[in-house]
Symmetry: C2
């Protein structure tokens, strides 16, 4: 490891100040409360937990470029997990698994353009869930219920921490508003997501994003997609991505070709789709650090970390 | 990813049969119950959760060789997490963090000699915890209480699953027996850990292992160590490793030299030990899949996985 670049003396001070911040233990208690409440909610709702995998021959191609992260082991090439999307789909092939979730670290080695957005870490934790034979309406309602459940538990378990960090207890929301990307863009211009997030009083859904091949194209309206993002209010931006999934072999291949995904990399996944059939499913995943940031009203998601993981900022530990 | 080795047709069938096993959903419910109960126990006991990191400039050197796993990003070299030991120690520098835990995937790319032990996966989940200003007696008692708590919750929450997989409900243990490695070896020979595990009616502690530099040497008896492993009974073997930690600069350097750890790789860690001082602490970590295996009395720890992670066996997903 001699090839590491030399570190300026002050970088150690920066790392130690970051982890010694007085606010950190309280922020971590909020994050811990989110995780704990989510486990309880998932159990109540009958979802089965899978443990996360860090390495796989296939991982999420993502719809924005990141630095490739892979290693070689036992004569195989292994990618670091960008999301557990394919493992969720495949695990639902077990006839007795109908819904599942994973608390999963995700590694996304962002380029320098996302260094200072306040919303990106190059590794973070995503809580991913997927339901067999369910649609977008089911998942959206599930997520709304989850947020209310988590917020209620936090209000009861750590009210003093919330009052200290947030200035007030957490709300219970009625049904979240639903918008379509193309309509919002018409009204608000290209920065519609951010503009709407700034003025929104509560989380809202944003439907129809053109992105990875596994989000289902609307068969009734080709060229539009049965996916949904949840956007936090007060300018905090995206907090969850989800979709009904493509599960039909020919349609998956068509979508892969459209977005330029390598069929060779995904040949076993495609073979399953062709020979055994992938289950019809819908799901989503939310960022734990982003939910923590929203609740604590933090300027930057990196304030949730003990060890800085801001893209392209040096880390000693 | 064209350079991946060709896969024999039957490997896909093997992967699909593995994840479609009828027993899997029940085994996963046990594992999920362990994780859920542990979160509740940690909260009751006042421990703060840190989220896991997959990448760090430093990671556990381990006391047995594994294939190196590292990547380059943003002009830095990052190792995949083999354990969160150093992050636990460093995070305790925060004056308001006195005890913490992490549910952390660990990547340990074992060599082929551990391919078929029944106890090794090349990635698994460890629940790691650490206490500032506590000693081995405190941690051992904490772990004994944790196991009884988890077992009691599982008995209440999923009794039918336990009866189905284990044939009986889980026990509540009295204080676990404590042995020293050198004494057991005298009596039972070099395979003492396995022999004792086979005949033990309950978990036991095994003190004094010569291993990584961060396990504290006994100042009263140099050449022996203030560390402890927990061994599952019925032949299931090691389930937790822990220790009081070396935290004094000169002693850490001495121990690094003895076991051959690179001071250069750990130069910032050493600098912290020298300049700020590392906290006195003790802790441990237990393998979630191994506890699941013990509870379900499974032949191989890989039966806990949906996607096989047996060292040197091919994985398609």
């Amino acid at each position: 490891m001699e090839q590491q670049k030399p570190v300026k003396p002050e970088e150690l001070d920066v790392a130690l100040s970051h982890l010694s911040r007085a606010i950190l233990p309280k922020v971590l208690q909020v994050q811990q409360g989110i995780v704990r409440a989510t486990h309880v909610f998932m159990f109540k709702k009958g979802l089965t937990q899978l443990m996360p995998l860090m390495l796989s021959p296939i991982t999420d191609p993502l719809n924005h470029g990141v630095v490739d992260a892979s290693i070689t082991y036992a004569e195989q090439l292994w990618s670091l997990t960008k999301s557990m999307i394919f493992h969720k789909q495949l695990a639902l092939l077990n006839p007795d698994l109908n819904s599942l979730y994973i608390v999963s670290p995700n590694v996304r080695l962002e380029f320098a353009d996302r260094a200072d957005t306040g919303r990106h870490l190059f590794e973070f934790t995503q809580i991913d869930f997927e339901f067999k034979d369910k649609d977008r309406f089911y998942v959206m309602e599930f997520m709304e219920e989850l947020v209310n459940y988590v917020f209620d538990r936090l209000n009861k378990e750590i009210p003093d921490v919330l009052l200290d960090l947030r200035g007030e207890l957490l709300p219970q929301y009625e049904k979240w508003p639903v918008y379509r990307t193309e309509k919002l863009e018409e009204t608000l211009g290209p920065d519609y997501e951010h503009v709407q997030s700034e003025s929104a009083p509560m989380p809202f859904w944003l439907l129809n994003h053109r992105r990875e091949f596994y989000d289902k194209e609307d068969p009734k309206k080709p060229g539009t997609f049965l996916n949904y993002d949840m956007i936090w209010p007060e300018g905090f931006g995206e907090g969850l991505s989800g979709a009904e999934r493509e599960n039909e072999y020919n349609q998956i291949r068509k979508r892969m070709q459209e977005v330029g995904t390598s069929e060779s990399t995904f040949r076993h996944y495609l073979q399953v789709a062709q020979e055994s059939g992938l289950p019809k499913s819908a799901g989503g995943g939310f960022g734990v650090e982003r939910m923590t940031r929203f609740i604590c009203r933090l300027n930057d998601v990196n304030e949730v970390t003990a060890f800085s993981r801001k893209p392209f900022f040096p880390s000693l530990f």
